[in-house]
């Protein structure tokens, strides 16, 4: 245990290391805050806890238990490794022991793969000791096990997608379960934000409606990572009063958080050492001192590279790598392999792991001594979740954020006060979004006819009338009935991402062995023919990507490079519905096709990362048909004129920054998440014949954001102007126009330039008004 103290002292005294450190922050140790085991807790349950060394509960566990047992809905906000699962397992198990007919539904945000992961979690084992039946019910559950899950599962583990498309539309099959449903656990509530969160809220509405039909009123127990507004989000999703449990009773040792900017290798061009090499170097230093370390990296390829470099550096046949075992971890591995890594981390047989954000949350891997973030993960709350993986109850831990050369990373390490002072991001949802609501109303009518006084929130009557006009529902007597032969949930996806995936098959030496899987869009970028695919320290060459049969045939290879696909995104306007003038800008609304194409790849030499050649890829492009708004900076409009006055080289970066501000501001007004919005700028748009900035809906088919954006645009623009004017930063930061980027062409202060641009743009529109311009195209 002194190892960690020694390495911390070593690092502090290492001048080269400290020269790169922009902040060395000490977070003091925090004592635990406990309560006795609840008095009403069954002796068997107490015994089971004691046999695990649990003599007392943390205060947040005790609060959560009391809330659930008294029928109060609650949301528990807990950092990683603070005994979150006990918060809901304890009241659920206790109630099941008292009344065995009790049923509980656990919803986890991840699909399929992570489900069985969850069922291996410590306390579910506890359940089996007590004879409580736990069943997983998701897309991968075989037909033969489904009936028994419905009939006898006391705790059913599922996900919102399955609840939406499998359980609710067939609720009569679930009568036994639903009639006794006492608890609904929603884990990782913070992932239900933006359009996805709006969908899930409507699924919860439907569940509530069906529960009322079966005369049950389950208690909700939610858990959330630290975000800006956990209570607000929980109340928005459950649409009722929720108790907040946010005092963390778990003790934590002293922690050092270090911001690290890799050294410059080219002072003139400002090029720094790469994050991959820097992260592996620091990791090796820690691992050699037997510090249990996790390295987070921002992509799958980097994860493989860092793990590989570490292992090669440690490689020594005489000492068996000094018995230091380092593994990589990411989505796409076989479930059994992922389980093995998780187990190895818990029992200490694995000393180091390199992971994508797959290990950021949820999965129990025990405490680690050090965390290294290879690049800023994109949000403050993710950063803290990843940094939080380093942390022990009693001993000191170390977390290091290594910046890449991206402007956002550079801003964070150069402005440590911003990083440490910034509150985690907030989450917004808009469950009454007409697209989302319409979809779920159809499902709801299918599940039960809609009579009066249903208590389904939102402007339901108008929508049902529209659906009747469309012919999918029918008003008969005083109720609306499903009047279509279809099965509505089938065609409605809660998520924007496709569920298609490709199986990776190793055919080396005539074998035919499945080694992993990958989602289809990523497969096009990583498993194209002749790609070098890195997988758990092995190197494969892709022989054939067979998208039709959803498989990629690969073979072991041994070359000195890996491949990196160049992704090109392109937008095509399919149909322009209308064009309006808002403020000093022309705004077009319509359907677009977002095409993503990988046409070329680079061959990159291991270690040096120099480019040693190109290859071509011939794969069909990924297409997404969606709704978009285009801000057209045409001549003769105030915005167009303002742009025309800029240096020509500045137009494109100025548009990028306008996009960045919009992405910062719009989620507040659209009640969506930044990831729900896509952005693309075009200097000379072939459709509009002028510079144009596209803001598009990231959900295929659109989810109403484009329409909503038009109505809030004046507000968004003036809010953007005020934000820039009021931001205390000097030349732009991630909260306003984006950090200063040394590679772009904005002369002088980008903040001033952007503010001037927006003021000129909005200037002729006081007060802002909307006028109809050219109609259609």
């Amino acid at each position: 245990m002194d190892d960690i103290n020694r390495i911390i002292t070593d690092l502090r005294n290492d001048r080269d290391f400290m020269n790169c450190v922009t902040r060395w922050e000490r977070l003091p140790q925090r004592p635990g805050c406990y309560e006795d085991l609840p008095e009403d807790l069954d002796p068997r349950l107490q015994q089971a806890l004691r046999s695990r060394g649990i003599e007392r509960l943390y205060v947040h566990q005790a609060r959560a238990y009391a809330n659930a047992r008294s029928g109060r809905d609650s949301v528990v906000v807990t950092p990683t490794a603070s005994g979150k699962t006990l918060c809901y397992n304890l009241p659920v198990l206790q109630t099941i022991i008292e009344r065995p007919e009790t049923r509980a539904l656990y919803l986890f945000p991840t699909k399929a793969l992570s489900q069985d992961q969850q069922s291996e979690l410590g306390e579910v084992v506890l359940a089996s000791e007590l004879g409580v039946k736990v069943a997983t019910y998701d897309g991968d559950t075989p037909e033969s096990l489904r009936a028994s899950a419905r009939e006898t599962g006391q705790i059913v583990i599922s996900n919102p997608d399955m609840l939406h498309a499998g359980v609710l539309p067939n609720h009569p099959k679930w009568i036994k379960f639903l009639k006794h449903l006492r608890f609904v656990v929603i884990d990782e509530l913070h992932s239900y934000r933006g359009v996805f969160g709006s969908h899930v809220t409507n699924v919860v509405r439907r569940l509530g409606r069906i529960c009322r039909f079966y005369n049950t009123n389950p208690v909700f127990i939610c858990s959330s990572a630290t975000i800006g507004n956990p209570l607000q989000l929980a109340q928005a999703i459950l649409e009722r009063q929720v108790a907040l449990v946010d005092e963390n009773g778990a003790p934590a040792g002293e922690r050092y958080v270090v911001l690290y900017n890799p050294p410059l290798v080219d002072r003139v061009q400002g090029i720094r050492r790469g994050v991959v090499n820097e992260a592996q170097k620091v990791a090796i230093r820690l691992l050699r001192e037997r510090i249990k370390t996790i390295v987070f990296s921002r992509s799958r390829v980097r994860t493989e590279l860092i793990a590989d470099y570490i292992n090669k550096s440690l490689a020594n046949v005489y000492t068996d790598n000094a018995r230091i075992r380092v593994e990589s971890y990411r989505g796409g591995y076989l479930p059994s392999e992922r389980r093995a890594v998780e187990r190895g981390l818990r029992d200490g047989s694995i000393h180091g792991v390199v992971s994508t954000n797959a290990l950021e949350l949820g999965i129990d891997i025990g405490g680690l001594d050090a965390a290294i973030l290879g690049g800023f993960p994109g949000s403050i709350s993710s950063s803290w979740q990843q940094l939080g993986r380093a942390g022990r109850r009693r001993t000191v831990s170390l977390a290091i954020l290594i910046a890449s050369s991206a402007p956002l990373d550079q801003y964070m390490v150069k402005n440590p006060d911003y990083f440490f002072g910034r509150a985690p991001e907030s989450a917004f949802i808009d469950p009454d979004n007409i697209y989302v609501l319409m979809d779920h109303l159809k499902c709801a009518v299918f599940e039960l006819p809609f009579g009066g006084g249903e208590g389904f929130p939102g402007p339901v009557e108008e929508h049902l009338a529209l659906l009747e006009e469309e012919g999918t529902v029918r008003l008969s007597g005083n109720s609306y009935y499903w009047a279509d032969r279809g099965y509505p949930a089938e065609g409605i996806s809660l998520r924007s991402a496709t569920s298609d995936n490709v199986v990776i098959i190793d055919t080396t030496a005539g074998a035919h062995r499945v080694i992993g899987e990958m989602d289809r869009p990523s497969a096009k970028e990583m498993l194209f023919d002749n790609a070098i695919y890195l997988h758990r320290g092995e190197q494969y060459v892709v022989l054939q990507l067979d998208l039709g049969n959803r498989r990629a045939l690969v073979e072991r290879s041994d070359v000195n490079y890996f491949t990196d696909a160049l992704v090109k995104r392109d937008i095509k306007v399919l149909h322009e519905d209308r064009r309006v003038r808002i403020g000093g800008c022309e705004v077009a609304v319509g359907d677009i096709l977002v095409r993503t194409q990988v046409a070329k790849f680079k061959k990159i030499r291991f270690r040096s990362h120099e480019n040693i050649g190109y290859g071509t890829i011939s794969l069909p492009e990924e297409e997404m048909h969606t709704r978009a708004v285009a801000l057209v900076f045409a001549d003769g409009t105030a915005a167009g004129n303002a742009f025309a006055e800029l240096e020509p080289v500045m137009i494109s970066p100025a548009m990028t920054r306008i996009g960045a501000v919009i992405r910062n501001v719009a989620p507040f007004f659209l009640l969506c998440d930044a990831r729900d919005i896509g952005l693309a700028e075009r200097l000379r748009d072939p459709h509009f014949g002028a510079p144009a900035l596209y803001i598009y809906d990231a959900y295929p088919g659109g989810s109403g954001l484009a329409e909503a954006f038009v109505t809030v645009l004046p507000t968004v623009l003036s809010a953007a102007r005020d934000l820039i004017a009021g931001c205390p930063c000097e030349q732009g930061c991630p909260s306003c126009v984006g950090p200063r980027d040394s590679t772009e062409e904005i002369a002088g202060d980008p903040k001033l330039a952007l503010r001037g641009l927006l003021e000129a743009w909005l200037g002729d529109a006081q007060p802002l008004r909307t006028t109809q311009a050219a109609e259609g195209s």
């Binding site: 009747e468 012919g471 029918r474 008969s476 007597g477 032969r485 099965y487 509505p488 519905d577 109403g704």
Partner: protein
Amino acid sequence: MMHNLYERLKQQKEAKSAASRPDSGPSGVSVVDAASVSDARREPRPGRRPAVRLSPPWEQVAGEVWRAVYRSAAPAAAVVRRCASIGGLLVGPETDPEGLCFLDSETTGLSGGAGTTAFLLASARLQAEELETTLLFLSDFSGEPVFLQLVREQLLRAQTLVTYNGRAFDVAILRNRFLLNRIEPVERQHIDLLHPARRLFGTVLERCSLSVVEREILGITRQADIDGAAVPDAWLRFIRTGDSARIQPVFSHVLQDSASLLQLLARIELLAADEDGNGNVDPLQRARLLIESPYRVAGSLSLRQRGLSSLEALACVPDHPQSATAARYYCALQRRRGNWGAAQRVWLLHFERRRSLWAAVELAKYHEHRRRDLAAAADIVERAAGWDHARAVQAELVRRRQRIERKLLRSLVKTRAAGKTGPYDGV
């Protein structure tokens, strides 16, 4: 604003379905009445639908609920009555023939789920030499509680339901409807003809849907019938327009369905009793069906015994195309029952007359493990190895022979050591 959004929703849906059409399913799967689907959509929204008028024998029972009773001659009834007295394959000896209820329903969708409603029920019953069929019809959703009460009365009157795929579909959907309307479901004995029909005709028909079985097995040709898959849309269109001409074909369809159930039941019983020699039926599967029969008594010889002897007959004609399959099934059955002699006879026959590798292996196993006659086992394998085989099979036989020889050698050494004479001494 709202209207625009609605238009958008609609446009997108059209765009989506247009985009998905070209690759929707393999060719050969017919898109069911696509024209009528869009037709149904294009109907203007009726503010007030004209009142539904149905001509006799239809009578209006309640607001949206109708009933009609049809009678027809039922020559097949005699077969069913006889089975009910002596016990048949499906109709047990305890059955009251008048308690059989031939049941078929039509629904608003084919996918199941809580939003699928039954709107038409045919329940047919034997009355003397006639079949009396009661149709219950729901002419709009709001009448469902009354409709279900009437359905329930029909079910309560029945002793045993006879359906085609009713276990998974009709009865399951009715149960859902009862639950959703808070009406207590009715549990009844159930003869689902799908299972025996699949057994008997599954290998001779391309599909085992009721309409194909009707046409190919019962020789019934329907006139101006509506495709079962088009029924949901016909009803949805009817409730919007109230035009009874659109729903008439559905009535004749369900009427025929329920009548066919009686005929099919009778035909299956005749085939089981072997009184229908020319039947277009798979003899092997027929034998298996008899063996699996739930009833033990039928005339002098039980159905099971009859099934077993026809299976044996098939197995013992090595030239018959189904002989090998029959032999496997027969021998497995006899072995399970411990009738090794019967199994051995058939193995030997297939070993000698058909040079069946399967029979050789089974015989060798029988001699090696059951009779512990290693010499006989070795002899069988030796002879089989002389036949012309694929290389993998050859290797498998060699391995088996080597194993038997090792065993032989061991027992030889052991018996020598004990000073006794081993079974292999003469060789």
